[in-house]
């Protein structure tokens, strides 16, 4: 919505400008009349007091010149003021139309957002209920009649349960992704190095057995929405952590560089599984995966989330990598 305060300010500026121009036109008119009266007066003086046809003729000629000049200035003033008035009125009308057009669009957008929200709500609520039934009753079968079932049947039931839980996870992550697009943003100064340290500490706590050499450049500053950027960084670092898990001596580096245009960009680099650069454009699509779930677990939502967060900040995200020789993810925050 355009704030009412600003709209009033726009209208007030226009009203003042129009009133000012009217005043200029009015005073111009008075000055013009006064100036035109002046040669008449001069002529009268020449005739009455100085006398003689000579003085009279010279005066008459001079009065004619003055009168012509005054007339030109008068026309000039009238045309300028008229044009300015027309311009102001037109721009005022256009402004009002633009405001109402924008309000119309914003209303439609708000409606669409509300609809989307209630849609997401039913998706998360109603799609999960049947999944619970499938999982619950599959397990009930295994528990109640498992011993009588042929081993194949038990394995099939296991597969059903596995797929169900995975779909539950996908729904949750999809909902989280749509929330990233909806949540309100508040930009503030944040220390990305701090955030990265916290993410790493959490990973080390979850998997204390893993040895990863992690370097985080100190003092990485950004003006961005803290929870969203935290989520983006968390996804990137968790990816680096995950995709470097199948090699000895994993290293992860978080730092800052300048992109091709000299703008500052942050990066998260690992020496893990990397990716085939031919498919780099697929990295950021939701549910796109360049490795099998068996090789590296996951849903393929993480980088889509990162991209959405970066785009909401007006930034760019891109990746460099090669098969089996690590990947680097770069992003800017607008």
């Amino acid at each position: 919505m355009i704030e009412p305060g600003r709209r009033h300010l726009h209208i007030a500026v226009h009203v003042i400008a129009i009133a000012g121009l009217l005043l200029v036109a009015l005073t111009g008119r008075i000055a013009y009349r006064t100036a035109r009266a002046f040669p008449e007066y001069a002529l009268w003086v020449a005739h009455e007091y100085e006398g003689g046809a000579e003085a009279d003729a010279a005066m008459r000629e001079r009065a004619g010149r003055v009168d012509g000049a005054v007339r030109r200035v008068g026309w000039f003033l009238t045309i300028t003021v008229g044009l300015s008035l027309a311009l102001l009125v037109t721009s005022h009308v256009m402004l009002v139309r633009e405001i109402s057009r924008r309000e119309h669009i914003e209303r439609a957008l708000n409606d669409a957002n509300r609809e989307l929200e209630s849609f997401s709500y039913s998706v998360s609520h109603d799609l999960r209920a049947p999944l619970r039934s499938i999982d619950g009753f599959s397990q009930a079968l295994v528990e109640d009649v498992g011993p009588q079932l042929p081993p194949d049947a038990v394995s099939h039931l296991d597969r059903i349960r596995h797929a169900t839980r995975r779909m539950g996870l996908l729904i949750d992550e999809l909902m989280a992704l749509s929330k990233v697009a909806r949540v309100e943003m508040k930009r503030e100064r944040i220390d990305l190095s701090d955030v990265a340290e916290q993410v790493v500490a959490e990973l080390r706590r979850q998997q204390p057995a893993r040895e990863v050499d992690i370097t985080i450049a100190p003092g990485l500053q950004a003006t961005a929405d803290a929870p969203l950027v935290r989520l983006a960084l968390q996804n990137l670092i968790e990816n680096a952590w995950k995709f470097s898990s199948r090699r000895d001596g994993s290293t992860i580096e978080v730092g800052q560089m300048r992109d091709a245009n000299g703008a500052p960009a942050f990066f998260v680099r690992d020496n893990g599984a990397g990716f085939d650069p031919d498919y780099a454009h697929k990295l950021f699509g939701p549910f796109q995966r360049l490795h099998s779930v068996a090789e590296f677990p996951g849903t393929g939502i993480g980088l889509a989330t990162v991209q959405r967060i970066v785009h909401r900040h007006g930034g760019r995200v891109w990746a460099e990598g090669r098969m089996n020789s690590g990947a680097t993810f770069y992003f800017t925050l607008g």
Partner: protein
């Protein structure tokens, strides 16, 4: 030992919840209400439950999405009535939308549990819930007879 009131419209969820209680060796009687109206009738001894002695369940497990009167309204009505305002109410639902959390807690729900898809996790949740609300938690004193 008082009963548990389970307010749930999905028959599969009812069946699974009852199964989870059985597997957790929770022996309290479980009364099932299929929508908000039935739940309120049970609690206030009205309608289909007119004439029921005015005892209260030990805990109410309340789904939010319910036919006729939804969970939030049940919660409001229960909290508004002096006889039931202290009754422990555990919201048991699919959603973890922020609006649902805020709405239920601000209307005086005692706890909020999301039903997991994984049945094993659900059984664990029900076991802990039973242990906490039926054994550990000291219930509010029974209401004065009116």
């Amino acid at each position: 030992m008082n009963e548990i009131l389970l307010v749930e419209d999905n028959p599969d969820d009812v069946e699974l919840t009852l199964r989870a209680f059985r597997k957790s060796n929770i022996a309290n009687e479980i009364v099932v209400a299929r929508d908000g109206v039935e739940a309120l009738d049970y609690l206030f001894s009205t309608g289909a439950h007119a004439g029921r002695p005015p005892t209260l369940p030990q805990v109410v497990l309340l789904d939010l999405k319910l036919p006729r009167i939804d969970g939030l309204h049940v919660l409001e009505r229960v909290r508004a009535h002096p006889r039931t305002r202290l009754l422990p109410i555990v919201v048991l639902t699919s959603s973890i939308e922020e609006q649902d959390l805020v709405n239920t807690y601000s209307r005086g729900a005692n706890s909020y549990i999301r039903k997991p898809v994984d049945f094993q996790e659900f059984v664990d949740a029900v076991r802990q819930l039973g242990l906490y609300w039926l054994l550990l938690n000291q219930p509010p004193p029974p209401p004065m007879p009116t």
